[in-house]
Symmetry: C2
Subunit: 208 residues, 2 copies
């Protein structure tokens, strides 16, 4: 899951790898085409004809790769969801302290938003459609973050409180600005402000 980084020309698109099929394949073109359309018009605002056209294939080709339009949309959401989980887990394991963990997770979200804005925006705007249900065993970044906050509370690295609320508040500090940036409310990349967000996130975790 971690970027190989041995290939010299695989630098800035590292986060996208593993989320979509190999470039150029019909499946990858369907995924990218659908993603672009879903992001702009929402899943329900996009027809299978439009997806096929965007991918440069016939409508029937969709059904050689995905059982339904809904499954395609879910697959795209799950892909970014699981990728984020893996990235967050990697950074949390590499963290030297609780505060360092918060900084790393915030930077991870900022980088993900900057690296593939379309993918991130789709994830953000469709959280309520696909992300609401959380059941045990599902790789959910928020649950992971909450459990690490619980550990920090036990260790005394974080003041006591409801870890789910702390996790939500900390994430909100990053995700709401990400949404506002997508709406054109401010300029610059998310990473430009990562340190601010990290400080604010940390404060939010400790105050809630």
């Amino acid at each position: 899951m971690v970027a190989k980084a041995s290939n010299s020309d695989a630098q800035d698109t590292a986060d996208v790898r593993g989320v979509t099929a190999p470039d150029g394949s019909v499946k990858a073109r369907l995924e990218r085409g659908a993603l672009n359309l879903f992001r702009e018009h929402g899943v329900d605002g996009v027809s299978t004809r439009a997806i096929a056209e965007a991918a440069g294939v016939s409508e029937g080709a969709i059904y050689k790769h995905f059982k339904s339009k809904e499954v395609l949309a879910q697959h795209l959401f799950e892909a970014i969801h699981e990728k984020l989980y893996a990235l967050v887990e990697e950074q949390l394991n590499a963290a030297e302290s609780f505060d360092d963990g918060v900084l790393r997770v915030v930077k991870t979200y900022c980088k993900a938003a900057d690296d593939d804005p379309t993918l991130f925006e789709y994830h953000l705007t469709h959280m309520f459609r696909f992300g609401v249900r959380h059941y045990p065993g599902r790789p959910d970044p928020t649950t992971l973050i909450a459990s690490r906050i619980q550990d920090a509370i036990d260790n005394g690295a974080c003041p006591p409180g409801n870890p789910e609320i702390k996790a939500a508040a900390a994430l909100g500090v990053v995700l709401q600005p990400a949404a506002h940036r997508m709406a054109g409310r401010f300029e610059g990349t998310m990473t430009d402000h990562a340190d601010q967000f990290a400080r604010a996130s940390l404060a939010a975790v400790k105050e809630t």
Copy 2:
């Protein structure tokens, strides 16, 4: 726009008044029925036949009150949007200091979420569909908050920085937990945690 409050039995539902038509009317039943369905299934997941059935009227009745299903959905979103704007403005004007203003706004959002969860959830989940475009003159709570943050920066009550980012981070501290609560990630009302959110929001504003 502000509640008249002369009527003694208009206490805890005050926030809802003015958002929908008078109770019992066909228009009010259409708005409530549509709102409940839109919240649960999304605007595109609800048919005009279903709305009519929920309101206990015929399908044609919808079009005596609203030009289209889309207009009905927009109307519902705008109603809560403008109501929130009015409430936020009222609290900001009553605030004795910048810190007090943050506390009041956070409490306002918490109360709105608690008083009419359906309305608030619809607002939250459809922000990306209706709330993305912000143009001058539109009553937008976020823009109002950002402008007050700018004032505070000018007065020295708040450290310098981009007010749009500060506003987004502060709102995120409240809205993300609100979304997580709706997803069933924690118990209790939003107001139960309003003081925590206020402290965290204030910290987020000052750290970004």
